[in-house]
């Protein structure tokens, strides 16, 4: 009996030692996640973000700074560390319960009782719970990598928006300058006695509107700049984009079906949902045993009474006479819900990939159309207006209006380029496994997967 008891304890401690192999280190876990994200997105945290911030940034550098500096991202990545800690915890044997009872001495003899027991479910389902924790960790890691990919993409979008807003502000300043020139001209005409006051007021009203539009554009540019700084985790550093112009729409759209399949294969939210579904299914499979043994304990009893020592076994069992069926059903429902979420996510990712592809193709086509057709047309319009002005068929105000039309075409190009680059980033993000921008059909990727995780054990 003694020998058997000893062997049980030996087994428990050995398992505990083995379980200790799952290490928990938050910094290492974050590095693992960022490496995985970098492999996918080619965006790695900047080794020296401060040095980068000291000079004008490219879009890639902005993403690198964002991965290195953003506290919100670090908080999101901590979830993966917590899941790893939970996995490490699940890898250890359940803690035993030791109960010691001492009775008042009787007849000069001390009486005491020692019970050592362990939860049977935890012991028997130890590998099972370890596997569940591993599944939860996998899902959390997918979510964390997705968060990093998304974060790099968000930084790129903020970069694009900041450059575009600055360009727009420049253009509205040009319109204001043109309106001011028109006012000066009409005031000269008025001073020469050539036009009524009405004409002056008309131009002044247009100038006032131009000033207001420029003020709004300035504010928009400032806000976009702040948003970029925030996305980079560098509000104090005043990050400056290196380019004053958004790049031309050079990227060709990938082949659609291949892109969609690649996006589905790469999707991290989908992988997370898959891990959660598998975990829920595994949990549901063991729910019957869990229900039976949930409160069952077994152990040894040592009793010292009147100088005699007795040993015995202890078993405690609470039969699930009334809630067994409900618990099993709940576990089954959770498994089905997780499977449905996975299916919905798969459909959502496919739809998002199709939508992103269509959106990119349209945005690229629009940007190229504006570049190749509208911009040259507005340039030609201005040139032809100049010719007609020289021929004295049109007046100076027609010329200024044509200039404003050219600026408007330039603004249109900035809008189109901004839409193109956002669409490009969305396309790239999906190819890298990031979260679909609008996964409403499947629930928001990371958040939905997290809900699934919260619903399980």
């Amino acid at each position: 009996m003694r020998a058997r008891f000893s062997s049980v304890l030996t087994t428990v401690f050995a398992a505990a030692l083995l379980a200790g192999c799952v290490s928990v280190d938050g910094a290492a876990e974050r590095a693992r996640v960022l490496d995985a994200a970098g492999e996918r997105s080619d965006s790695f945290p900047a080794a020296d973000a401060g040095a980068l911030l000291a000079r004008p940034l490219s879009e890639d550098e902005a993403a690198a700074v964002a991965l290195a500096r953003n506290a919100a991202l670090r908080a999101e990545l901590a979830e993966a560390g917590l899941a790893r800690a939970a996995w490490a915890q699940a890898s250890l044997p359940p803690n035993p319960v030791l109960e010691f009872t001492s009775m008042p001495p009787s007849g000069g003899q001390a009486s005491w009782e020692l019970e050592a027991r362990a939860p049977l479910a935890a012991l028997l389902l130890w590998p099972h719970r370890q596997a569940l924790a591993r599944g939860a960790y996998d899902a959390a890691q997918y979510r964390a990598v997705a968060a990093a990919v998304d974060h790099a993409a968000a930084a790129r979008r903020a970069f694009t928006a900041a450059v575009a807003a600055a360009q727009r502000a420049e253009m509205f300043a040009q319109v204001e300058q043109a309106a001011a020139a028109a006012v000066l001209t009409v005031e000269e005409l008025r001073a020469a006695g050539n036009v009524p006051a009405l004409d002056v007021e008309r131009e002044r009203a247009l100038h006032h509107r131009a000033v207001l539009a420029r003020m709004q554009a300035d504010l928009d540019a400032r806000q976009a700049h702040i948003a970029l700084a925030r996305a980079l985790g560098a509000v104090e550093d005043d990050p400056r984009p290196a380019a004053s112009r958004l790049p031309d729409p050079e990227m060709e759209a990938p082949e659609r079906d291949a892109f969609v399949e690649a996006a589905i294969r790469a999707s991290l939210p989908l992988a997370s949902a898959r891990a959660e579904a598998e975990r829920a299914l595994r949990a549901a499979g063991a729910e019957g045993v869990e229900a039976l043994l949930d409160h069952a304990e077994a152990g040894a009893v040592f009793d010292r009474h009147h100088g005699a020592t007795e040993r015995g076994w202890l078993v405690e069992f609470r039969p699930p006479l009334f809630d067994f069926a409900a618990r099993s059903a709940a576990a089954r429902i959770r498994a089905e819900a997780a499977a449905d979420r996975h299916a919905a996510m798969a459909a959502g990712v496919r739809a998002a990939a199709l939508s992103a592809h269509a959106g990119f193709a349209a945005a690229a086509a629009r940007a190229r159309y504006v570049r190749d057709e509208l911009l040259p047309a507005s340039e030609r319009l201005l040139n032809e207006t100049m010719l007609q002005y020289n021929a004295m068929q049109l007046g100076v105000f027609d010329l200024i209006a044509a200039f404003e039309a050219r600026v408007a075409a330039g603004t249109e190009y900035v809008d189109a380029l901004e839409a193109y680059h956002h669409a490009r980033i969305t396309l790239m993000t999906l190819a890298q496994g990031g979260t679909p921008p609008d996964a409403s059909g499947a629930g928001n990727g990371a958040a939905m997967a997290a809900r699934g995780a919260a619903g399980g054990h």
Partner: protein, 445 residues
């Protein structure tokens, strides 16, 4: 052969030839533009024998042949590429490859048969403006005749029972077809000329167009016109009239402008108005003019002795009619501070230059020098370089060149060389002092 009214009545039942004679004869009784008696006939008039052909500057005469005592003409209405002046070509509608159509010349009493072939994409007709013809030959689409459809050839035939300066033009969709150029001169010479014969007989058809600078087709929808022409040419594209000193010059002016009359002014001479399209003005009723108003749809004939050698402007005196392709919807820049505007607008448009602040006179030289590009196929206010500077006129302008001698080949004699002391110049200081003129003195009432 003499054709009495009775004979005409008898012949009338036999065909096309006789019926117009009857109508024309009856209608012609009250027409003063006749030198032939009622019922009188004559062989087809021949140039040199019966008349001296008119000169249609920048135009041409329509050839004819005589068939059975009838003068046969053939007009072909078609699209024509026409040069209004060097640098401005329009896709117009004309006759026989010309805009305007060639001048038809005939002699009072001629039997005329004029074929009209329509090669236009639209129906057309030809109306013989001012001519007394049988009703069915009047050429008014829908009233006198069915319009001539594309590809069809109609024939008009009548006997000319008057003389004078007349016109022909489309009378189908007149606004469009006349705006595109479908018109020409019709000169009827008298069978028995009265009074002194002109040494030079010039004929002009006045018209107006809207040619948007840079466009290549006249705009028939326009009610404002930016190109005013003598024989469909705008200065500096007009050829000058030539005369030797002492010659009698006749100028026939016919106006088919859409919306404007034209007061035509001659420099250096006094003209006598001798005829309208209604006929010759009796000697006692003729009046002297330096400017003769030619209403639209009318003709006026003037004569004068070219007794003043020189280069003389001959032009419409409506000032907007002596501007080529002038825009009218632009701000009045006269008197503005161009420098301030140049700075403000030049900041956004580096090639900008304020124009019109000191008038339009520099426009032509700027354009011609090439530093101020204008739309292709346009003549924005372009004039021409003259012997003493830039001529700031365009449009309905030409020159009368009177010389004691002219080149025998009829070519341009060059610019007039004023005899010493007969040209305006800068006043010399001693002249100003002598005459008590102080240019810096404040103006006196």
């Amino acid at each position: 052969m003499k054709l009495s009214r009775r004979n005409a009545l008898l012949a009338g039942a036999t065909g096309l030839a006789a019926a117009p004679l009857l109508a024309a004869s009856a209608a012609a009784q009250a027409n003063p533009a006749r030198t032939m008696r009622d019922g009188e006939s004559a062989p087809p008039g021949v140039a040199g024998r019966d008349y001296r052909p008119v000169i249609t500057p920048d135009g041409a005469a329509l050839p004819y042949r005589i068939q059975g005592g009838v003068k046969i003409f053939h007009l072909v209405a078609e699209e024509v590429e026409h040069e209004f002046a060097p640098g401005l070509v329009g896709r117009c509608w004309g006759y026989n490859g010309r805009v305007h159509g060639p001048t038809i010349e005939a002699v009072e009493g001629d039997r005329l048969r004029i074929y009209v072939t329509n090669r236009l994409p639209a129906p057309t007709t030809v109306h013989w403006h001012g001519l007394v013809v049988p009703s069915g030959m009047d050429g008014v689409g829908g009233i006198s005749q069915p319009s001539i459809r594309p590809g069809e050839t109609f024939v008009y035939e009548w006997t000319l029972r008057q003389h004078g300066t007349f016109m022909y033009h489309s009378h189908h969709d007149e606004m469009t077809q006349m705006a595109l150029g479908l018109m020409g001169l019709f000169i009827a010479h008298p069978r028995r000329p009265q009074g002194p014969r002109a040494d030079r007989d010039y004929a002009y058809l006045l018209s107006e167009w809207q040619m948007h600078p840079g466009a290549s087709r006249p705009d028939p929808n326009a009610m404002e016109f930016n190109l005013l022409t003598f024989n469909a040419r705008a200065y500096p594209g007009t050829s000058p009239m030539l005369a030797r000193t002492g010659e009698r010059v006749r100028i026939r002016l016919a106006n088919l402008s859409a919306m404007d009359h034209h007061p035509i002014h001659i420099h250096g001479h006094v003209m006598t108005v001798t005829e309208t399209d209604g006929g010759p003005i009796p000697q006692s009723a003729r009046w002297p003019e330096t400017t003769v108003l030619v209403p639209t749809g009318s003709s006026r004939t003037v004569e004068f002795i070219a007794d003043n050698p020189g280069d003389w402007a001959f032009h419409c005196h409506m000032t907007h009619h002596v501007m080529n392709q002038m825009g009218h919807g632009i701000p009045n820049m006269t008197g503005v501070n161009a420098r301030r505007i140049d700075r403000a607008v030049g900041a956004i448009l580096p090639h900008y230059m304020t124009m019109g602040h000191d008038g339009m006179g520099d426009m032509g030289p700027h354009v011609e020098s090439g530093h101020m590009p204008v739309p292709g196929n346009s003549l924005p206010m372009v004039g021409a370089q003259g012997p003493h500077g830039y001529v700031t006129m365009g449009g309905m302008v030409t020159l009368l060149k009177v010389r004691n001698r002219l080149p025998a080949d009829g070519s341009h004699p060059g610019w007039y060389d004023d005899p010493p002391g007969t040209r305006a110049r800068i006043a010399r200081a001693e002249e100003l002092t002598r005459d008590g003129v102080d240019p810096a003195a404040p103006p006196r009432p």
